[in-house]
Each structure stands twice: as structure tokens, then as C-alpha cells.
């Protein structure tokens, strides 16, 4: 029998996890699969479980002129249904799994699961999102790229809860999100892609690309993004050159869902299509 806690507020939850090592259970859509056992047996959890999906503190969505703040236990459905969140952010969540899973799965859970194929991650990387981690000792904010270290690995401490995701509310005129899955619904990604660009007149101010499911973590390169801005400002954008640069850092693998060649080629084509669609030329 696994011991479970159902704290009634965030403070209580933080106290529980400060006194013993627990597994935080937000939506459970990944945990229940990981802990799956022979049907008829309880799912296997090696530590006490703390249910945090009902904590009000973790279910808020706030937006101001600087940040969109999404509580860690907000389900994908809650995010999709929120009227304040811009559509292009919602798009990444609409493509995830199936309605049943979207009703349960949470943004905090998806980030803490830290799968390279996590579907909301490329957009969060591209948006320069950060996560807020709280413990009884206080709170800290970590950039998403610093938070996730590798498949299933991140920097959260045993006594911390991911309470908020903070997304700078910068407006991008051009944006693209693509998920290539094994099928149209209830599918894991072969590749996911987020592209954002800010253009003023003919000037490219900012451009960002992030790629999911093509490496141990989401791939993003500020160096190449800077290079693109430079090239455009000098009116010497060489798409082939940019593709070559991305080609050297996108190193996917062959696995049971797709091939390395396909994943890489699709990423490069997304970059090319995105660059070709921008109107500074």
C-alpha cells in the first residue's frame, strides 16, 4: 500500500515534502503509465504520493503587460479554455494527446516529467519561459532551459513544488507551431517545432526557434538566432547557411517512432519555411 497525502493548501503540501521524500502527483498521466503494473495490482510508487492537482494556489492564470503566469497544476484544458491566453500559445496544448488526458495533465507535470518529447516545451523554450520553484524556505525562479537537464532529469529539489510557469508576454508577429506525431490524436511526437519572429517594418528585431523530440532536451540556439538577425539586417540572409548551422546542432536518433534523417530534415524544413514566410525580404 502506498501512503498518500491530500493537502488542502500549498503550505501544507510544502511541509509534507520537507519532512519526507515524496512523489508529487499533479495529473498523473505520466506517473500512472510509469507506475503501471499487472492489472489488478496497484500502480507501483516507491515513495509516498502527494496529490497537488486541487491546490487553488497552483490553479491560477494571470496575465499582465510583462508576464503570463500559469499555475503549475493548471490542466491543459484549463489553459485552452482560458480567454486571456493568446491562441498561439494554446495551439501547443490543443495538439497534446486526447481530451481525456488534456483534462487531467498539467503544465507543471509536463515540465517536471522533462521528456524530450514534451509537447509544450519547445514553445516555452522559444518564449524564454521560466519556472517558479517553492519550498518552505522560499522561492526561486529558474529559466526553463536551465531547469531541464536531460530526459526525465531536472533541477527541482525534493522539497520543492513547481508553482508557476512565467512566460514573458512579448508579442511576436510571426509564429509557427508544428507537431509531427505518429497519428492525429493521442500521439507522441516525432518532432515538434516552435518558431517566433518579431518584425518592425523591414527590420527583424528578434527570431527564435526551438525543436522538440530531436535530442535529450529541447534544442534552441541563441547564437544562430543572433546570426539570423545580423544576416537580415545586413540583407544577406543565407537560408542554406542557417540550415547548415541548425543541422550541426540537431542530432536526433533512430527509434521506434521515427528516423534520425526524417527528424532532422523536418526541423530544417520548418526553419526554411519559416524564414521564407517572413516578409523582410
Amino acid at each position: 500500500m502506498v501512503k498518500v497525502y491530500r493537502p488542502s493548501n500549498l503550505k501544507e503540501a510544502l511541509e509534507i515534502i520537507s519532512s519526507e521524500k515524496c512523489t508529487l502527483f499533479a495529473g498523473g498521466t505520466d506517473l500512472m503509465v510509469k507506475g503501471k503494473s499487472w492489472s489488478g495490482l496497484e500502480p507501483s510508487f516507491d515513495r509516498p504520493v502527494v496529490f497537488i492537482s486541487d491546490l487553488d494556489e497552483l490553479r491560477k492564470i494571470k496575465i499582465n503587460e510583462f508576464f503570463l503566469t500559469i499555475g503549475g497544476a493548471c490542466t491543459f484544458t484549463r489553459i485552452i479554455d482560458n480567454s486571456q491566453i493568446p491562441d498561439f500559445i494554446k495551439e501547443a496544448f490543443i495538439m497534446i494527446a486526447s481530451p481525456g488526458i488534456r483534462n487531467m495533465a498539467t503544465i507543471g507535470g509536463n515540465i517536471c516529467n522533462s521528456s524530450p518529447a514534451g509537447d509544450c516545451l519547445p514553445l516555452l523554450y522559444a518564449m524564454d519561459a521560466s519556472v517558479v520553484l517553492e519550498s518552505i524556505y522560499g522561492r526561486r525562479e529558474v529559466n526553463i532551459e536551465d531547469f531541464i537537464l536531460g530526459p526525465g532529469k531536472n533541477v527541482i529539489g525534493w522539497n520543492e513544488i513547481l508553482t508557476e510557469v512565467r512566460i514573458p508576454t512579448k508579442n511576436f508577429k510571426i509564429r509557427a507551431y508544428r507537431k509531427v506525431g505518429t497519428r492525429k490524436s493521442t500521439a507522441l511526437s516525432k518532432v515538434s517545432f516552435a518558431g517566433l519572429a518579431e518584425i518592425e517594418g523591414e527590420e527583424l528585431k528578434d527570431i527564435r526557434f526551438a525543436f522538440g523530440a530531436v535530442g535529450p532536451t529541447v534544442v534552441r540556439s541563441r547564437r544562430i538566432e543572433k546570426k539570423i538577425v545580423e544576416m537580415v539586417s545586413e540583407k544577406k540572409l543565407e537560408v542554406g547557411e542557417i540550415k547548415k548551422m541548425y543541422g550541426s546542432i540537431i542530432k536526433p536518433i533512430d527509434d521506434q517512432r521515427s528516423t534520425a534523417n526524417y527528424r532532422r530534415e523536418v526541423c530544417l524544413r520548418f526553419v526554411e519555411n519559416f524564414l521564407m514566410s517572413c516578409k523582410w525580404r
Binding site: S37, W38, S39, G40, L41, S98, R178, V180, T182, R183, K184, S185, T186, A187, L188, V191, D255, Q256, R257, S258, T259, N261, Y262, E265, V266, R269, F270, N273
Partner: protein, 713 residues
Amino acid sequence: MEFNISQSVRREDVPDKIAGIAKYIGDYKFKDMLYARTLRSTEARAIIKNIVFPKLPDGYCIVDKGDVPGRNRVKIIDYDMPFFADGVVNYIGEPIALVVGKDKRVIESILSQIRVEYQRIEPILSVEDGLNAEKPIFGDNNCFSDYTISKGDMVSAKRRAKFVYEGEYETGYQEQFYLEPQGMIGVYEEGKVSIYGSIQCPYYVKNAVEECLGFEPYRVRIVQTTTGGGFGGKEDYPSLIGGQVACAALKTKKPVCLIFERNEDIEVTTKRHPSKIRLKSYIDENYRVLGMEGDIVLDAGAYSGLSSVVLQRAMFASAGVYNIENLVVRGRAVATNKVVSGAFRGFGAPQAFFAIEMHMEHIARELGIDPFEFKLSNILRQGDRSTTGGLYRDRILLPEMVNRVIKMSSLEEKKKAFKEKRKIGKLNGIGLSMFFHGGGFTGSGERDHIKGRVRLVKDDKGYVEILVSNVEMGQGAGTTLRKIAAKTLEVPLSKIIFNNPDTDRVPDSGPTVASRTTVIVGKLVQEASEKLKERWSEDRVEVEVQYKYPEGFYWDNDRFEGDAYTSYSWGVNAVEVEVDPTTCEVKINGVWAVFDIGSAIDERIVKGQIDGGIVQGLGYASIEVMEDRSGKIMQRKSTDYTIPTSMDVPEIKSELMCEPYGGGPFGAKALGELTLVGAAPAYALAIEDALGVKINKIPVRPEHLMEVVQNGK
């Protein structure tokens, strides 16, 4: 009671299924029931040197080859597959033993402590290696079957030919993915073994268990429990696990339950045979296909199972719906150290029709002629002969069906419009396939092996029970058979009873396979009903009828000559796709179908079969990828082996045309398998149309299309 046989009625099995009160095998809890889990080979090919078991707690035991009182070989067609590995293992996942006991956690702990010491043997992992095997798995040439069929005069056809075209076509594995995984419970009481389970063929399991235990027939009873889908996957495999739970029940004297987990089921149970088919056609100056040479190689996996008959069906369908008068086709089912290939809806035909439909299209393209004209000018007509020289006795409606599908799908207008769209980078395409399916067992199976018997019992209140060994597994058989009886007897449907078969009560009317339940068993139900009607005034009546091979047909099973089937159903499918130019993902924009299944016994059930079969066929053609690495299947989870969801397929527009079969009930013909057969070639042809590339292999993966596009058209 007058009603139109085709008009849909409410299915009796459905309310309980929707309400969740139907009892599946996992819902049965017998007193003192034990659970079993399987110790499986982790090697593709090895000699078992030794097995070290941990000390077992009280009430737990191992069941293995030493616990098989009869013959440790599963009777399917031959006897090659052991119930429990007998010193050697031939595929990853092959059962070695069961761990049996009360607590699942303890069973898992015991399993994790068992050490099997293997002496590895170089495995055969491809059909190419299998055809040149130094150490064959089976016989001298490593083929479970090696057949040749021929007709006409190939030498003359070659001499007269002006064009020759050769192509090779490849198809992959397909997993049945029934919603309910495999499961059986064995019970031993007073010298008798009863097996409850999710099965298609109660008497197959019965025969296998009798031989396994060495029991007389009266000491083995099989009861079908509500079955959540089969698609062929519960034709052969339940005989294996039925024997296993029988041995376990006999040893423990307690009920023993063996139910597979989904991932286990995906990995170790039978699948559709992967195939490689080479076709070489000889064509004259009027574009008539004079002759064809074929070479069909099926990957049978480690044991023969049903491969010989799957191979026969593939060979007999090799010329598709075309009248090719001179023909030589060789077929081989090759042994490999992989999971056993078995029965799956279509049974060899989907492979053959994919090959011939692509082949015909490629010929037309090579010759620069219109593929429809080419196909229609070679199409089978009433009075033509089949690949085995059998006569097509009934009218073949294909030309009308093709015209109807062209009209329904606006195919011609679309072809033109798509050509224009391609100029602006929009990659739409449409493809059309033509196909048939022979109803019932191949060759003389119904006459020589099955000899199906059907019994009807009327009680003094006027209720009639249908006693057959055929099962309702979601396809609607219970309702279909009841309607046939009610209509023939002219009584209300509510007076006709159909229960899940129990071999203590039902005669052997054969297995629920080969699209035979309506056309063969349904006909027997009709005949029995006619007999019963004559004696309706009696209080309690029991009538039994047995299958009689229809007059005028002929089959020589040694030479594979004559009527391979007594009736044929026909189909035409069109599929429209859109290929994403960036990702090569394929979206299905439309599906149209016309089938000739004779008369429909229930239009809604028929529509269910059509939609389900086409979706399953589209999955086969597209996203259902299953490959092995060193004999281990890579797509072992439902997240990786994906079948289509309702989001992946648009509404399917289908119609029926009817050329009735005199030997079927109310003129009905085969339906279940036919619906799957034509989807794959129509889909692949649509992609060819969209991209202007040649497709020779299914599933058509975006990964493959990307390579083709990268390498330049």
C-alpha cells in the same frame, strides 16, 4: 413475422457492452482462483541449458513441459509449436513456463528471480536468411510450405508478349489490436477440464486441449466468454494458452487465470505475415496481360501455425481481379526466429492485392496508358477462370462498381484539379483499388475438414435456440444468425436465442473465421430453420443439419486445381489524400467504397464492418509500423504501435451492389475480411498520384517518402 432481412435491428449484445455489464474474461472470479504469468524466452534462438528457480513459497508452482500429460505440441494444422518450450526456444517471447499462485505480487517476484541459462544459436531473422539457412528451423529448406500453382501455357504467353514488366512489393507486420487482450481461465472439476476464454474457435481450442492433456473429448469443455474483438488474432493463439491453463488447472486442481497485459499481447501473439511478392507480367500489343509469373514469400515466424493456408489464399489471389490465362506462381512460407505469424482479417489476401494493384498501375504507367482502361480491359468477367482454374459462375459487377465509385468520389474531376494544384505545390492525390474475397475456407476445407453442423432447439413456448460454435466477437454474428432464423421461421426475432457457445451444448459448426459465419453457417441455420418449420407444431423439436459441398463445384487439394472458393465478394475503394510538402505526413481527405456482398443481412452491421475494415486497412497501409531489431519487436507499446483514431480517418462513404449467391442465406456472401483488403492499395496509389513517385512497400511512412523526395523524383 414479415420483415426485410436487410433492415437493421437492435443488436442484443450491445446494450450490456455499452453499459459495462457484459462479462469479459477479466471479470470472472472463480472461487480459489489462481493467477498465472508466463516465463518467456529472451533469446531469438537458443538451447535451454538449465533453468534455476528460486525456492517457491507454499501455494505457488511452476507449470512447464513436464506438466503436459499429453502431447506437448499445439494442434493447429501441424503439431510443431510446443505449449511450453521443450529444450529450445525459437523466438523472443516464446513461452517456457507459467508461474502460478494466488498473489500477483509474489508471482512477479518469483518470475524476476528465475534464471534461464541459454546456449545461443545464430538466429534466422529475415526471409532472405531463411531461404539460405545453414541451420534450418524447420525441415531441410526451412520453408513450412513451398507450393506452385500454374495454369495455361506460359511458354506461349512469353513468346507472344510484346512487353514485360516486373516489380517487387513488400508488406509489413500488422497487429490485430483487439480491445480485449488474450485471456483464458482453466478449471478442473471431477476429472473434467473447462476452459473459459476470449476466443473465435471453441472447437479448435477443444481439439488442442484434448491432445495436450490426452483426455477423451467428453472430459474437455470450452466456453466462450464475451469477446472484445478477434480479427483472426483469437483464431490460433487461444489454442496455445488454452492448453497452458488446462495443464495449470490440472496440476493445481484450482481455477487458473492467464490474461495478457496489452504490451505483452502486442509483443508475443500472432500477427499478419510480412510479405515479399515479385510479379512479372507478359503483355501483348493490345495491352492484354497474357501471362504472369509470381513469387510470394511470407515471413511465417518460428512455427508453422496457419501459414500454409494463409499462403494458399495469397497465391490464389495473386492475379487480383484480372483474367490472366497463363500463370505460374510459387509461394513459400519461410521460418524465421521471430514471433509466429498467424491469422488476421484477410488472411494472405491483403498482401496479394496490394502487390497486384500496384503492379497493374505500374505497368500502365510504364506503357504510358490509362490505368483504369488497362485494368478494366483485363478485368474478370462471368465465365472466366480463376488462378486455380475455377469458374466464376456469377455475374461480376466490377465495371459498374468502378463507375459508381468514380462518380461518388468525383474521381475524374479531382484528378484534373489535383494536377493544377500540384503546380502550386499542393500535393493531393486519389487512388482506386479493385479486389475480391473468397467466402469460407480455402479449397476443400469446408468439405474435408470442418463439415460444420448446426442445431436448432425449439421449446414448448416457441423459443428457438441456435446452437452453433460460432462466436459473437463484436462483428454482429449473433444478431445476423438470429435474423436468418427468425425470417426463415417467420417468427419474431425475440423468439430466437443465441448464447455464447459452450462445447458441451453446441455442435461443431466450425471456427469463426474466413468470413464464413454468415455465408456458410448462416446458410445452415436457414436450412435447419426450414426443417424446423415443418415440425413447428411439435412441443419440443431439435433439428440438426450438416454442411454439404455444393453440387457442380470441384477442388483437387493435391494439385490446387478447381474452385478455391464457392462464392466471391467484390469491392472497389477510392482514397483521397493530401501530402504535406514539408513533413510528408499524409492526411486522408476522403474514402469511398462500393461492395458486392450479395444481400446484406443487416445494413447497420454491414456498415460497421465496412467502416471498421477500411480503417484497419488504412492503418495497415500507413501508421501501423512494426519492425524488429535482432528479433525483438521495437513497437511493443500502444504508444508506439499506433492504430488509427477517429481523427485520422474521415467519414467513409459506402454503398452496396448485389449479385446474390444462391448458396448463401437470402443470397448473402462473405463480408468481414473483404472490407480490409482494398484500402491499402487505394491509399498507396493516392500517394503515388500526389507525389508522382512509385510506392512498392507498405506501411507508407513519411520517413520513407521523405527519402524518396530527397533523392529526387
